[in-house]
Symmetry: C2
Subunit: 462 residues, 2 copies
């Protein structure tokens, strides 16, 4: 099908683009001690055969082994064209009232725009993974698996290969080839099975404590292209392909878990942009299996707001870490840019302005060209309607160097500064950079993370 | 100032980008017979010295010589950072209740983000041009000039050079070097003075008749970069740099002229995108001096809706011609792409979807890569909230070849078609192409015109 073929004619030109290569990202992946991962999960990543190249991982299976029921929550893309796995995961969450014990994820094929067959395939993945779980209080038939897919749009899954791959992980089968484990190697295999055009597996772990009790968070995600997520809780319409999952051994009431995730996703995955395009598959899932919460009640937003707040902040900080990895590995990105908007009268206004600057083609090409072009930042800032109209005489723009040296003001209260060109060049030449815009109207702030646009250097004034 | 410097380090790479050069656009500019231009205008373009290179035109002066009062209307950018000439032209129109007799336009400097000095300079341009006009019923002091500027942001105008340039055109001065004229050469000089990174002067003329009486329209515009206008009538906030003016010898009541222009701009200049970024200076002005309407009353939307409708449609068709020239000459564009959205329940919904597809970086890079990637079109289509939610099973996508041969369906009622790759490649290899999306919900349609994104060929799956 035409839409799926790579246009190989362009490949032959690639070798001429030797100027300014994409920086290596391999240092962003390093071993993590086994003890840092949440308790009560076994997982793996295998080659099921969705991807043609032998040995390349394309299927992840994650199971909770906790004796407690696991809570689950999710944020899905708001794209009107929901891929089958998105629809199925939403239905599983609804039917189980926010409980789930397993995740199954494939890369290489998005199972999007695949009609009835796509839905059947996604449900078959759920059933095959359910069969790997220990019986849940005798209710063997309950659907307890959430499913995610990423890859090309418009192709059906090689479902028999996928089902065989899932079944091969059963510890109960006679010829079990199960590679399920709980140490770093198992987590890394799962993270690798998420990858499409990502250049490194994105895996992080974090330990935190609430009232002296220690808990763990671990997460994996993938991105690279079609990255401008706009995800909401299951009730909404869908948009973006970014996939991520976060697993914790804390115990949290399902409704509170969703509330914490929605807050965290707004400030993390919904605050990043690579190319400004939302996918049909974007999904962030979280499981909380309570394996480290023996003897404790589930965290409940209503009953114990203080504990909930601690958990929510931990989850948000962790989600920001995971989201930033996607920007760092954005397709063709050579820079990691933080866009901070301060002085707004609402978080929504601050977020809108930060999003607009982060998706402006002219701002992103100027960043690639290492040009301190505040005119483009200002034009982007002024181009969207806000609930509180901008006052041009109150707006300030500055560059904040990543090395902690002094900020460089470019525009102060609407008046252009006399800019030291050498200093400006120093700052914009670094891989990391912060653009700070102060609207001068209120006390609300938002942050966005974006990368540059690696255009042809003979374009857009570069 | 750092923001204004071209980053010359990139220039040296340009020579390596010999693959797929930008197609020549020179055939889009050709002589027009003198008789095709509207009566009652004299105009010119001169080198005032805003641009450093000697002889390059940077100042246009356009005067109505009609004995009738000229009506004027305008649509200005909705960007919150309004450039001084935008604010001044708005005030002139308000003070004169929609009457004006002159236009003055400079390129090379946008007079944007220039504070109090910028406002003084714009008013000085108005006064100097007013002085060239014949006294209007003795009211010599009336401000009757509209002003536009385009170029770099954050620099003040070399105002004395500009004022000397304007004054040099006075037929009354002793040492007059006036080059004001009314034939093709004069119109072309004016059009050239609008240019920034445009590769050809954008000038068109059109003859039309209402009830047997013949009228003329002539227009000039410029674009190239920071092109995604969103302009409204003078009351609104401002956004986009696209400059254009349309001159006619019809007679139209000021309020009706504004009504016709607002309609025309929504369907022309507000329906084009080059890079998705709106400027601080975007302005479209129209003057109607009635020089060909001797003995006729002014066209009035209330009094004679039929004549008004004819005029509005002529103006709209003409504005679309002018707007398309900007897309054809978009910075780095190699393709001219029409995005048609049919089957919407409202024009606003159809326009939103067409705009989203036209600004999608992934759609635009696929077009540059000549890849019939309907998945990217679909993801863009579904990524924005609409007043009538999309039904994925009703959406169809096809490519319409520019040569009149059969359309190529890619997706029909949500089901992917088996696409003939050779045929798809043929269609997307042409310079002109139409993407048609049918939402299958209603009878409303909108069109947008966009170009491809000339990215590095090793990026975004190309």
């Amino acid at each position: 099908m035409a839409s799926l073929s790579k246009t190989s004619v362009w490949r032959r030109f690639s070798s001429t683009f030797t100027s300014k290569p994409t920086p290596s990202k391999t240092h962003l992946h390093a071993p993590i001690p086994d003890s840092a991962f949440p308790k009560g999960y076994v997982l793996t990543g295998i080659h099921a055969g969705v991807k043609k190249k032998p040995g390349v991982l394309d299927l992840a299976v994650i199971l909770s082994t906790s004796s407690r029921p696991a809570s689950a929550a999710a944020c899905f893309t708001r794209n009107a064209f929901k891929a089958a796995p998105v629809v199925v995961s939403q239905q599983v969450l609804e039917q189980n009232q926010g409980r789930a014990r397993a995740l199954v994820v494939n890369s290489g094929c998005a199972n999007a725009v695949t009609g009835k067959q796509g839905m059947e395939d996604a449900w078959a993945m759920v059933a095959a993974t359910d069969a790997l779980l220990e019986p849940n209080q005798g209710q063997k038939s309950q659907k307890e698996t959430l499913v995610m897919s990423t890859g090309v749009i418009g192709q059906t899954l090689p479902i028999s290969k996928i089902l065989a791959g899932i079944t091969s992980q059963s510890p109960k089968s006679v010829d079990s080839k199960s590679t399920l484990g709980s140490g770093f190697e198992a987590w890394e295999r799962a993270a690798r099975a998420f990858m499409t055009t990502d250049t490194f597996p994105k895996l992080r772990a974090r330990t935190f404590s609430i009232r002296g009790k220690e808990y763990h968070l671990a997460g994996m995600d993938k991105g690279a292209g079609m990255i401008h997520p706009n995800m909401g809780p299951p009730s909404g319409q869908l948009h973006a392909t970014l996939l991520g999952c976060i697993l914790t051994d804390a115990a949290v009431v399902p409704k509170s878990l969703q509330s914490a995730l929605t807050y965290a996703v707004d400030r993390s995955f919904n605050s990043i942009s690579v190319d400004g395009d939302m996918s049909t598959n974007d999904t962030i899932l979280v499981l909380a299996n309570g394996a480290a919460a023996e003897g404790s009640a589930e965290i409940d937003e209503q009953a114990d707001p203080e504990a909930f707040e601690l958990f929510k902040q931990e989850l948000t900080t962790f989600a920001i870490d995971l989201a930033q990895l996607v920007v760092r590995d954005g397709e063709g990105a050579t820079k990691f840019v933080t866009v901070s908007v301060d002085g707004a009268t609402s978080y929504a206004d601050a977020h809108k302005v930060a999003s607009r600057i982060s998706t402006s083609a002219l701002v992103k090409t100027a960043l690639f060209g290492e040009d301190a072009n505040w005119g483009r930042i200002l034009a982007a800032t002024g181009s969207i309607p806000l609930s509180a109209p901008l006052d041009p005489t109150r707006v300030s723009v500055s560059f904040i160097p990543a090395d902690g040296t002094a900020p460089l003001p470019l525009l102060v209260n609407g008046e252009p500064e006399k800019v030291d060109e050498v200093r400006a060049k120093e700052i914009v030449s670094a891989e990391d950079l912060e653009i700070r815009v102060d609207l001068g109207l209120g006390n609300e702030s938002a942050k966005y993370w974006t990368c540059d646009f690696r255009v042809r250097e003979d374009q857009w004034g570069l």
